[in-house]
């Protein structure tokens, strides 16, 4: 059944793919309302995955499509893992689960469930979105693919693959923390660290978001220390991993090996743990939202541990005070680095970039590109929060496009 076009057919029309009722979707609707734009039609991930809904039902000429995070919803997580069951993986060594077993998974707070397969499932979903969009009737007047995306499925997939994303950033010339290449076990990691004379690394789940499955590991040959939010529990002989809000420190080499090995079974990205600069008696990094190629909203994330992610109850620092301390030249270089990083994603209107400064602000490096890293309520740039600024940038781009088309037509 096709939904009939509503009365505001000729006005701007938005579709958001996300989890209905989620904070992200609500905030986006609020941003639309504030700009006196009609509310977006929400297409839920679950309905897309089950086939209950499809984009051609909602999308028409001129529709702007926004893809939101599928996170924070266990049913969706389970459905994505199930969707990944059939996906082939070039590398078969990672933990997998059958579609049926995925559908039977029970919710356990913080449990890290098959992140590699989740990623494969999410990629399949992004491809499905792309295919469905291709079925939507093309617009006649615009030469560019239409309807318009706020973000592109293929680029979201790239951002969610930390290994590939890191490579893309490097080849673009953005400053990043040096990677140590693929490793499949703790022993391999230790060997690689020895070869490269590196004794501090971050081991991250290749497709994890936020601080999910991140370990800061250091050794001086005789001592070992892993700082992490991951907790382990053994159940029926199986080692289970959980994300917690508490920072834990493991010092037992065997325990650390077990933890890293378990993460490796779900594919990891390893990079040097660059020393971070301090501010206000904390270590810190920046989250910078780049919109339409320009570094806009910035927030400093202060922490007492190597993990700076905001959801770990860390503090937000006053970005202006940080900017002053960093100094004009270093700050400008950092913003340029974020913008350069975003050039890897030409079809994406925005992303949240995490960036660190080394002590004394000598250098900076991009550490993450977060496809959905623009959720920063209360942070303003030129008087607007992130979602509103994105919509404004989008409107600007559309106006330019229309003007160009008009000139061409004339």
């Amino acid at each position: 059944m096709w939904l009939s076009a509503s009365s505001d057919e000729r006005r701007d029309h938005f579709v958001v793919i996300g989890n209905p009722g989620s904070r992200r979707v609500e905030l986006f609707q609020a941003a639309l309302a504030e700009l006196r734009l009609p509310a977006a039609r929400v297409v839920s991930y679950l309905d897309l995955l089950s086939g209950k809904d499809a984009l051609p039902r909602s999308v028409r000429d001129g529709t702007v499509v926004r893809i939101e995070s599928p996170g924070k919803d266990f049913e969706v997580e389970r459905a994505l893992i199930a969707a990944g069951a059939g996906a082939t993986d070039g590398d078969e060594r990672f933990d997998r689960v059958s579609r049926q077993a995925a559908q039977d998974l029970r919710f356990e707070r913080g449990r890290i469930l098959y992140p590699r397969q989740w990623y494969l499932g999410y990629c399949a979903t992004l491809r499905l979105i792309e295919l469905q969009l291709a079925e939507c009737p093309p617009h006649r007047s615009l030469p560019r693919p239409h309807p318009q995306w706020m973000n592109s499925p293929a680029e979201i997939a790239l951002m969610f693959d930390k290994v590939a994303c890191h490579q893309a950033l490097r080849s673009r010339g953005a400053h990043v923390a040096p990677g140590l290449g693929a490793v499949n076990s703790f022993d391999e990691l230790v060997g690689r660290m020895r070869e490269q004379n590196c004794h501090r690394v971050f081991v991250k789940l290749a497709s994890g978001s936020s601080a999910s499955g991140v370990v800061a590991y250091q050794t001086d040959g005789r001592r070992h220390q892993a700082t992490t939010t991951v907790e382990t529990a053994r159940q029926n002989g199986e080692l289970r991993l959980y994300n917690s809000r508490r920072i834990r420190v493991y010092r037992d080499r065997r325990e650390i090996a077990e933890l890293i090995d378990a993460l490796c079974r779900n594919r990891v990205h390893v990079e040097q743990w660059l020393p971070k600069a301090g501010f206000a008696n904390r270590t810190f990094d920046l989250r910078v939202v780049v919109i339409a190629g320009r570094a806009c909203h910035a927030v400093a994330r202060l922490s007492r541990s190597p993990m700076t992610n905001l959801h770990l109850l860390n503090e937000r620092g006053d970005a202006d005070a940080v900017r002053e301390k960093v100094g004009r030249a270093a700050w400008a270089a950092a913003m340029r680095n974020c913008e350069l990083a975003m050039e890897c994603f030409p079809e994406s209107l925005y992303a949240g970039i995490d960036l660190l400064f080394t002590p004394d602000f000598r250098r900076q490096a991009v550490i993450e590109v977060n496809a959905f890293g623009d959720l920063l309520p209360g942070v303003f740039w030129q008087g607007q929060e992130t979602y509103a600024a994105e919509l404004r940038a989008m409107a600007g781009a559309r106006a330019c496009q229309r003007a160009r088309d008009f000139c061409k037509g004339a």
Binding site: N197, D220, K276, A277, T283, R304, T358, P359, R363
Partner: protein, 313 residues
Amino acid sequence: MIYEHIANFAGKPVKDWEAQSGIQDPEGACYALRLSYEEAEEGRRWADKFAAFLDDPSSSQVSGIVIGDWGLLSSAIDETAAPVVEALVAARDRLPKLRAIFFGDIIGEECEISWIRQSDISPLFTAYPQLEHFCVRGGDGLSLGALKHNRLKSLIIQSGGLGVNVVREVVAADLPELEHLELWLGEENYGGDATVTDLAPILDGGLFPKLKYLGLRDSQITDEIARAVAMAPVVERIRVLDLSLGTLTDEGAAALLDSPAIARLEKLDVHHHFCSEEMTTKLQSLGVEVDASEREKPDIYGDEAWRYVAVGE
């Protein structure tokens, strides 16, 4: 954990020494010699940087230096600081004006404080008889030897766990001019095994006739120290008592409040503590300058409350 390089030392601002900028203010600033991550990546070595510093024509006028990371982030993680001590000792004739040394301004993001491998630093005191200010960070492998020095005014030992051997060397030291003594005692897990009994010679007030500032900081046993120090003769002689960065609770604070000598200090510093709000207010109304900022909450695991020092690891 320590997050930032020091901005001031021995009353002077600290500037990083770089070959390009050179030495602009040899008397008014302390110069930091640190191998940054970037320099280490380029394969540069601390010893070469120090040699270049000594070749700077103004280095003979420098009054204070800060020794930063000597390569712990790269190659020297499993080496002790002995070669750095040797380099400083060998440079004694080229740094005739040197009055202040900070040995190990290394932040946690460069190397955990308890992973810094110190060594016997006693040759420094012999090599620099004019030294007035000395600070060292890292207690692992540290030794002061039989310390006798006629000019030293301030001695600061920062650690995440200070071994009783070092505390014994401090109490056996002959430092007639010492005004400022600061020991970061740390946690037992990281080698901080000194007890209040080991500190008794300091508390008895018979040592260091010119002592004005006593810091027994970053301690896991701050309450015990507070109880002992509240009644100790040394408090009658000093102006500042610093029990900050530690684990002070209402129990230790009550002992401090009961002590008439504490109320005659110029300043009591207990910042980073675990006192109740009520007790914090009482401390603040002691009538002397009190820093009771950074009120911390214990970590609760099951039935147990854990109170951590500010700088451990």
